[in-house]
Symmetry: C2
């Protein structure tokens, strides 16, 4: 296995582009080489097999779509109110549009995971970790809303992401902000914060 | 084009199985013929091209996953309460497990739609119609909860469906009933029904 880390990263990035564009079945070493603009045979020098490539894709997508910690710290300077939760959810929603390729590739990986138990195990661990981080972030930041509120918000934002990425006409963009505000308001409930 | 309606239906059903199993890129006339157990070349006698096949798949999946009207009428004999909305959502959630192939094929179609504007238009129309039917059903049945409640419930149920089909370990099955009850309770809010 060749050990040029920049090239490895560029190959995994190319794999993410191929996944988003052509789906999991289009993800071949040859397609990755073409997308990365490297000589045929390069990807196969970096990854023992397709599963090894998929394993690295999972981690690298998470890095691509994760928000910048400095930006998060900036947003979190505001008091921990409902308005701040609405702002955070609006921000996640805009990230789906800005990081469309990464989010689409993640959807393709989810479907590929229904056919590959090892990938399913790894993706489940990665997404469960992200969700646990969200729950901890919410609690430690003193944001209003219990664990159930965070989980319901996560599910509805996941549904909205699926609509926005695949069939943006189902829930019109002009309704999105109002729905996100109502989601936060109603899942937190009247009794808190 | 050959005109044997039963065989046409069987070919579209086989296409749904292929979509769920192999993804959109695996959906070829040859794969459909094999899955349907018919001679090679049969599917190409029934559909002018792959787009014509995909168009019929959309309608037929909707028929497969739609609940039986008689069953709906039976459930709707109960008074239009929050408990009934919880029961309806639990029922939808169990249908995702029971009709796994149809729902998975629909997710594959959604991703294929990101690459095919005509399919996207058709799927958007079909899913928007289903959502409008849900909104009308909710209102005409006198169920508690406003339009926003129905839309938020739809989004969260869509997120739950995606988790359940692709990464069932992220939201454990034993938490699902409690989350659905809380979703209905909170999106309807305290002031109604």
């Amino acid at each position: 296995m060749v050990r040029n880390p920049e090239r490895r990263t560029a190959l995994v990035d190319a794999a993410i582009e191929v996944l988003a564009r052509d789906g999991a079945r289009g993800l071949t070493f040859r397609a990755v080489d073409v997308a990365a603009g490297v000589p045929n045979g390069t990807a196969s020098n970096y990854f023992a097999n397709r599963d090894a490539l998929l394993a690295q894709v999972t981690g690298q997508i998470h890095q691509r779509i994760a928000p910048d910690p400095a930006e998060v710290a900036e947003v979190m300077k505001a008091p921990p109110s409902r308005a701040l939760v609405v702002e955070l959810m609006g921000w996640i929603n805009r990230r789906v549009a800005a990081q469309r390729t990464g989010y689409l590739a993640m959807l393709e990986l989810r479907l590929e995971a229904t056919r590959r138990p090892e990938l399913q195990e790894e993706l489940t661990r990665a997404i469960r970790e992200t969700l646990d981080d969200d729950l901890r972030f919410h609690e430690e930041g003193g944001l209003p809303g219990d664990r159930t509120a965070v989980l319901l918000t996560y599910l509805a934002m996941t549904g909205l992401m699926l609509e926005q990425l695949t069939l943006p006409g189902v829930v019109p963009a002009e309704e999105t902000d109002g729905l996100i505000a109502a989601l936060v308001e109603r899942t937190i409930g009247p009794s808190e914060g």
